[in-house]
Symmetry: D2
Subunit: 409 residues, 4 copies
Amino acid sequence: MSKGKIVLAYSGGLDTSVILKWLLEQGYEVYAYMADIGQKEDFAAAEQKALKIGAQKVFIVNMKKEFVTDYIFPVFKANTIYEGRYLLGTAVARPLIAKKQIEIAGEVGAEYVAHGATGKGNDQVRFELSYYALNPRIKVIAPWKNTAFLNAFKGRTDLLAYAEKHGIPTKQSASKPYSEDDNLLHISHEAGILEDPGHECDESIYSHTVSPEKAPDTPTKIKIQFKDGLPVKVVNLGDNTVKTDPLDLFEYLNQLGRENGIGRLDMVENRFVGIKSRGVYETPGGTILHAAHKDIEGIAMDREVMRLRDMLSAKFAELVYYGFWFSPEMDFLMTAINKSQELIDGEVTLKLFKGTAYPVARTSPSSLYNQDLSSMDIAGGYNQEDAEGFIKINAIRLMAHKNILDRKK
Amino acid sequence: MSKGKIVLAYSGGLDTSVILKWLLEQGYEVYAYMADIGQKEDFAAAEQKALKIGAQKVFIVNMKKEFVTDYIFPVFKANTIYEGRYLLGTAVARPLIAKKQIEIAGEVGAEYVAHGATGKGNDQVRFELSYYALNPRIKVIAPWKNTAFLNAFKGRTDLLAYAEKHGIPTKQSASKPYSEDDNLLHISHEAGILEDPGHECDESIYSHTVSPEKAPDTPTKIKIQFKDGLPVKVVNLGDNTVKTDPLDLFEYLNQLGRENGIGRLDMVENRFVGIKSRGVYETPGGTILHAAHKDIEGIAMDREVMRLRDMLSAKFAELVYYGFWFSPEMDFLMTAINKSQELIDGEVTLKLFKGTAYPVARTSPSSLYNQDLSSMDIAGGYNQEDAEGFIKINAIRLMAHKNILDRKK
Amino acid sequence: MSKGKIVLAYSGGLDTSVILKWLLEQGYEVYAYMADIGQKEDFAAAEQKALKIGAQKVFIVNMKKEFVTDYIFPVFKANTIYEGRYLLGTAVARPLIAKKQIEIAGEVGAEYVAHGATGKGNDQVRFELSYYALNPRIKVIAPWKNTAFLNAFKGRTDLLAYAEKHGIPTKQSASKPYSEDDNLLHISHEAGILEDPGHECDESIYSHTVSPEKAPDTPTKIKIQFKDGLPVKVVNLGDNTVKTDPLDLFEYLNQLGRENGIGRLDMVENRFVGIKSRGVYETPGGTILHAAHKDIEGIAMDREVMRLRDMLSAKFAELVYYGFWFSPEMDFLMTAINKSQELIDGEVTLKLFKGTAYPVARTSPSSLYNQDLSSMDIAGGYNQEDAEGFIKINAIRLMAHKNILDRKK
Amino acid sequence: MSKGKIVLAYSGGLDTSVILKWLLEQGYEVYAYMADIGQKEDFAAAEQKALKIGAQKVFIVNMKKEFVTDYIFPVFKANTIYEGRYLLGTAVARPLIAKKQIEIAGEVGAEYVAHGATGKGNDQVRFELSYYALNPRIKVIAPWKNTAFLNAFKGRTDLLAYAEKHGIPTKQSASKPYSEDDNLLHISHEAGILEDPGHECDESIYSHTVSPEKAPDTPTKIKIQFKDGLPVKVVNLGDNTVKTDPLDLFEYLNQLGRENGIGRLDMVENRFVGIKSRGVYETPGGTILHAAHKDIEGIAMDREVMRLRDMLSAKFAELVYYGFWFSPEMDFLMTAINKSQELIDGEVTLKLFKGTAYPVARTSPSSLYNQDLSSMDIAGGYNQEDAEGFIKINAIRLMAHKNILDRKK
């Protein structure tokens, strides 16, 4: 007798294929679901594979546009970055995948959802928190945290044996000795041979960027235009290519980043589950966008708004990384971030060259830099003598403190 | 009759030479003081010039070592950076200069100190807050905020005319059409032709770094060792150069950075006096050190300590930038930062190449990354099944929130 | 010849009457302006006085309703409190007064505004920052920072002599030996005999609250209803008085607070100009409202939203206290605060008794407390066994840290 | 055969007595441990009971002094308070209890520790995080999260039946219909009939304070002296009682608080496990100490140190409440807090009356308030005219913002 319907986040790979079969064996009616968020994948082949294994139906959903406009752009608008370096490429994709999975569960009337993430990583948390937040009645099957499953599959060999036994096709090519996660924003490489953070990773591991050493010897210059903190136009100043559609624009930044070796990162980070891990990332277009956005804010954002926003940005990154995309605190932060971007308009010119995206010029209708002081419509303009009083009043407290310390001696 | 003794922060340039003479004309007994913090300067010539103009005495103080150990290293230990980009090269030098100036004032029995900073910038604040904090009874003469001085010297032409009239030698070579500040940590270029942030600055402006385009086509690999958050050894993995003395080590990082085109920055920043300005900076060694320190922290610092420290680092940068080095809040932050560095030990390997300092490997005795979980001396180790409870408890609040929203509809 | 028109914030008291006359002597055409924000004042008499002295016109503007809805309520919505204690009674009134003053300046075509605040306090900053923020072209005359004025009026005796000389009526009754600021929200007492923070202030100084010792021996019970963080109804559970209009409601809370001796505060605080001062405050209704609002948030606000909001509240209080009501950062904070209040609905019951407003019960449609866990519509409900995993995962980091420390020994 | 030794945190009550027996039945060798931290308890009777049930040995440890000096005082030094109201009475006791329990486990060679806290509360977390942090190899038995135990004991009736069956004495008096936790700092009342936050709790529930309505009609005046943020002397200004020993001093504050009805709190708070709960607390001495400490800081702490410390205090409270007393982040915060208290010296006079502790006067050698400006040893003193420049420079940014907004229209 059927235990009920379950929607499985399916990748087409060995793990989730085995899980699919295992769930069928457990008595579930399995719906496979694949989110197309820009990863390199043969979706048609994966669909056939899932159906062959026994999936009731396979849902393949193209969410690239939504991923760019509703997930990637809001994160870059927040100028946010995890532990000062990671651009959140995997983290920001998980809530979108989970959201559609919950919607499909609703459509097919499934009580269960399943995923193939392990019990040591961040993704399990991001998936499950999103599931629960969107549907508190959903039941989650996470085989990699299930004792029976863990006992049955102690390593890759067990998975392969099971696949062979059940006629699940496995790729002939040798599997990579580390794991990857790939989407429009980035690719991550981790675990396996990369696990030792003291071991430099081989050039062959990088796949979304050419090596800076092999990138062109001539810089590429581009101009990015922002409106309310969002990129609305990219112009290649060399060949006059222009992109304005969000998806086109972002894919073009990816292409430019890839060609110029931009966006590599090799770091040890803190997972939400309390352990540290080493990740190697490539975020070509995102790295360019981040540099440009920070630069336009430099000229267009009020200083004190920036101070407050920066406090919130660090928290924003943590929430995205930990998996709290769908949460009241995220709604709260998003409202604040959106407010901070109201005047973030203008253009940034960047030089892309062998691994760096270097802002070299910027203009904005929204801000006042030194040059404009004379033109500022202020009674009396900036009066240098005012600075004397400004400093003296600021010093009162320091002088008092010194007096106290001297008195104590 | 003498108005009393004054110690002038003297640079040897046109402005402070004119100020020196002007102060003499006002009736002060002027002591010229030059801080050697690594800037390119002919100190002997400057000394002669000051004496010729009429300085009572010239103090030239070599503070390079102190600058590195007591100012630069503490700032890099704090992992701090102003508005997400600026490494504080000018800001961190000002308190040291002011401190020695106050000490000299004490030695010669001067009631007054003077500086040549303008009334629109940050340096006036950094100097004067430091003066007042260290000696609340000191009196400050800042000619560029003095009405009489401002009326007499409306521009460079007036300064030159005054210099000629009083036999003050002026450099034959054309002055640079922008201003610079130079020390061991960095050089800044700003104002003049750089003032328009929409105008890309010319390659010729950069002087502390070769252009990334002209940097070597082969990466340089180095290893930096840290102890309690401080760099204690740099090894060039190519030629086995080793540096351990703080000043040597930092100068060597500068050399490596310079050769590899590392540490350029072109940004619009917010001054303490409420205006924005564009600065072009070169911080070769500092940029390498910052990347390495951040990387060692990634592996060696506890996550929650990092969260708290990051909150404080932003404030730390602001205090340094604004000029509050000598303040009770800075003492407070420094104590906290020092505590955070107690276990920040280990080694980082970096690849230096055409503008980037890229950490590629790191080891530390202080931290626990994923790889070590099995070896961690914990009862039961990391149990993947625990993650289920962890996530469910974290989700309780989100589910409650969803229930409330649904109920509201 | 006239120097032009000026709008003077006029109080009817000695200082601003002398200032009015002095401005006339300086050659200005003076418009007197009085903001009625609930202070105890004979506005008709003050008007006659100003006209007699020579004011071109007197504007008396009743802004009590606007004060409650647009200034007091937003501050209490933010749950904000300066340095942990002060409810911002004076601070929140200043921007409103300044705003109307600037509007009147616009109406009468005045280039100037003037106020009677001293150069050592916060009010000068609050007024002037508001003036400049609302009209960057405005010119401000602040006699108490004007050298000529300061030289002419070195103390109260000079003011009285000047008043007598110019036929300015002065109150027969002896002036209070300290200064007060009075409005709908509070009264402050400071300076003069109160200046010594080590000297307990006399009971006679308090005027907006009865002494707790003389307050009724029986508690008063009330219920306050909130909607989106705003109080929308107050019910006296003893006599069934009901108030729903914002101004009525707030005045009623003031009455209840006054009768029950609630809202006194005696503290030393930090002024924006860097000095400390002692203030004695009475905020009867505000103290009740603050206690109730905090209590309804306890039950209705998500924990993590509360954490973020609390970070912002401290900054919010600082901005209000310092005078940055009209600023981009305040707009930013207000947007965030408003978002945080979206579900802050429900009712709080309080016991008012001899100086305390004690919340004793509360209900809300928006939150989930322990009692409801069984009824929460969650798959599986709260599972106690999940807590084990939750704790163990949280402990991983701590165990790792202990291992490292042990290894170091 | 024995499963090994276990140290049980034993209270003498029904729950832990049943647990003791149940652990024996499971095959453990049980050591009972009672921490005397000031709760009302017949320790001798409890010891007899535990031995009678079958405990191998009973450890009764008087930790009152350590509790005051190493736990309570550091928390009050941090000026910290959970969610703006709760003084952390239970939270701060748990790590101390756990620490000694781990030490005893070490002494007797026990592999296990056990506690009687439920799976829904904070105490389980506080105990277990402390256990794991202090000894990562320890194994924890928490019967209220154990499926077998939970199945066996579904309610109080089952516990009583089991007790009767095994000859465990149960109190004849009816048990209270809610739970309590009692120590030197406070007593908490929660759950049971108190669970509904909309139901006002009965006066009979309060046990550590008299009702404010029954407190004396005459205020008690006391003076508390602080040194480095710690209370070092309490003087009753009425009868000249003086206390200086930390434990004596704190117990005396408790007595004064109890008599004057001070320290009651009824609130809904957010637990670490994600649910809200209602707690009714009585913290008599702590409430007085908190008010006094905040007041001495008002006069003695630098403003900017206070701003930074306040950011950290909120986090400090969270860490204590959640159970992270023994953690690297707590060590970090404690170091910072200690630094902030270096000049927090002086005396505060408070009026205790019917529920309130009202600071009325304070003196300190460490601070500079307005009154002292004339005596401050500063060149030129405070110059009111400086305020003009101070305000104008602060306004620059606001004027620029207004210009931008106007330009946009």
